[in-house]
Symmetry: C2
Subunit: 346 residues, 2 copies
């Protein structure tokens, strides 16, 4: 038997590998299937999220300074913990590197990790440092904490809930497109001087993303507990489908409500791309996508930087994007696929 991984896709592969896994230990409360796993101890719920990042797949050192890479590697894991409505507390940092790296390179990477940790009050508690014959590989595991009653899974969205998203979407993706274009332009040039003036915001979104601790704190302060939540790492479309599948509901989101930054829109135009497609499928925004009961409407609209983009429906009504001209389009699943560049799927 020989089955191409591409025929299953990322999520199909994970399903197949993990379908027979049953949790046995008392402290194993929730395993595969959310942003983080949940461990349960007598007085504390502990969250665990992990990521592996490979050179050439997840980052390109031509335009990614190592300090930014360290920062981002940590941030994306903090984001997974916030997406469970928890607080990140510890990380382990594992790195495999080849001969071309110097001590100062690794120090720069660690410096970035440390800056992220300082911003989010997270401790580096361990890791592994080893050599690689090929590219750079990074693996980070983040441990967070939450009260049992505070944890938000992907499974709790209910019919009529409001769908909310923080910040704006598609900017990180447009930043990546810009970096890729400039890389092509300056290939072979010894002193490339790419012109990024006026495009700093989308570059920052790609190279130095935020984890939305502020949103978690604002929700806590407003006494709103989302019914479901995820962070937007693979693209809004993909994440919405996760929530709908796992909550057994449908959704309607409205194109006109999607939060898109001016620079993102401008850049999409320059590239002749559909900005809605970028916002729906772009990925790496690390914004929070969540649902709240309709009774929280008054409270939620008072929180800054949160946009209502639609609402949850019954499952039989499907996962729908309503376009500006009132067309209904069914959302498409995205995910990693080894035969495609996952940054280029549209």
């Amino acid at each position: 038997m020989s089955t191409e991984i591409a025929s299953l896709g990322e999520f199909g592969l994970i399903d197949r590998l993990t379908k027979d896994i049953k949790l046995q230990n008392q402290s194993s409360k929730y395993g595969i299937g959310d942003d983080a796993a949940v461990l349960s101890y007598p007085d504390k719920e502990v969250l665990v999220a992990t990521d592996i990042l490979m050179e050439g797949v997840h980052f390109d050192l031509v335009y990614t300074p190592l300090m930014h890479l360290g920062y981002k590697s940590a941030i994306v894991n903090f984001s997974d913990i916030y997406a469970m409505n928890g607080k990140p507390k510890q990380i382990t940092v594992s790195i495999a590197l080849g001969k071309r790296f110097q001590v100062e390179d690794i120090e720069a990477f660690y410096e970035g990790v440390k800056i992220a940790c300082k911003e989010h009050q997270v401790d580096i508690i361990g890791g592994d440092t080893t050599s690689s014959f090929t590219g750079l590989a990074i693996s980070i595991t983040c441990i967070g904490e939450a009260k049992k009653e505070d944890i938000v899974y992907r499974t709790g969205a209910k019919n009529t809930d409001l769908i909310c998203v923080s910040g704006n979407l598609g900017a990180a993706y447009m930043g990546l497109q810009l970096l890729e274009r400039e890389k092509e332009v300056f290939k072979g040039s010894k002193n490339p001087q790419p012109d990024f003036a006026g495009k700093e915001y989308i570059l920052e979104r790609q190279l130095r993303p935020r984890a939305r601790k502020d949103i978690i704190e604002a929700l806590e302060k407003a006494k709103i507990k989302p019914t479901s939540m995820m962070d937007v790492s693979d693209g809004l479309s993909s994440e919405l489908m996760h929530i709908c599948t796992q909550s057994n509901v449908g959704c309607r989101v409205f194109e006109e409500n999607l939060p898109i930054d001016y620079q993102t829109a401008l850049m999409a135009e320059e590239f002749n791309m559909n900005v809605t497609t970028c916002a729906m499928n772009g990925g790496e925004d690390y914004e929070l996508l969540f649902t709240v009961p309709i009774s929280d409407h008054e409270k939620i609209i008072q929180i800054e930087d949160i946009r209502l983009i639609g609402h949850i429906t019954e499952a039989k009504l499907n996962t729908i994007l309503v376009t500006r001209d009132n067309q209904e389009m069914e959302l498409k699943a995205q995910g990693w696929n080894p035969l495609k560049n996952n940054k280029d799927t549209e």
Copy 2:
């Protein structure tokens, strides 16, 4: 500034990267510097160990079946938790793989992880599956539990303590040498039929190591709490130096007391290698190295498969191997070095 990593070595690099790290969070009890980090919750101590394994550095798929690789990847992390006198409970499994792999390959890898988990009652709670443009990369994080009073660090060895090691040493290293030799012999051959008859034990030690749960249970049953403990992953010599440095003591171990299997000795002879060097520096044995107070002597000698190899001394007496002909040799530090093949350092 540009500093070669080789000029610092693995431990020097880790020191430099982590020297200014201070733990801030209440639950962060112990960070970098032992087999696992320790998190402290009101009613539970939680252990965290992590590893990153790279194709070509840590494993060679020419002679490592993927199921064995999965098994070993899990076991080496369980071993780190046992080395803290804890019990492994959960793992996350992250894997980055290229196009040459089929679904069945990854299933075989996961099957190995699952067998290890079943043997040790560990739950798979999450992970990350992604693509790689280069080789296979694996990162596993293991979470364990222990009572606060049971955890054993590297720092507690005291003058006159007995030094104990489980099982035998150098076998995994000799297994690796054998596999490497057969690989060379059969290079280019389409249907290699290497002759491993009579050498099954050392191959098993390399390809299917054990994590010494049984020893932890036996110590518990005998009511012995070691004063310090580590697992032997980088070689006895390196681990003894860690314990002595971190406990601020010295040691004397006796060549004639080193536990060496018959197959290991035979293979070393065949390769014209010094078997003591293999036992001291071989690595990957995943046996437990620990110290107990001299008052536990009667109890410890009644436990099967534990050998007394020496004793702890004052720090000023150094870390010494006493040879069969009564020579005193100072132990040498080992560790990963990117400019050498770390399997070949002697």
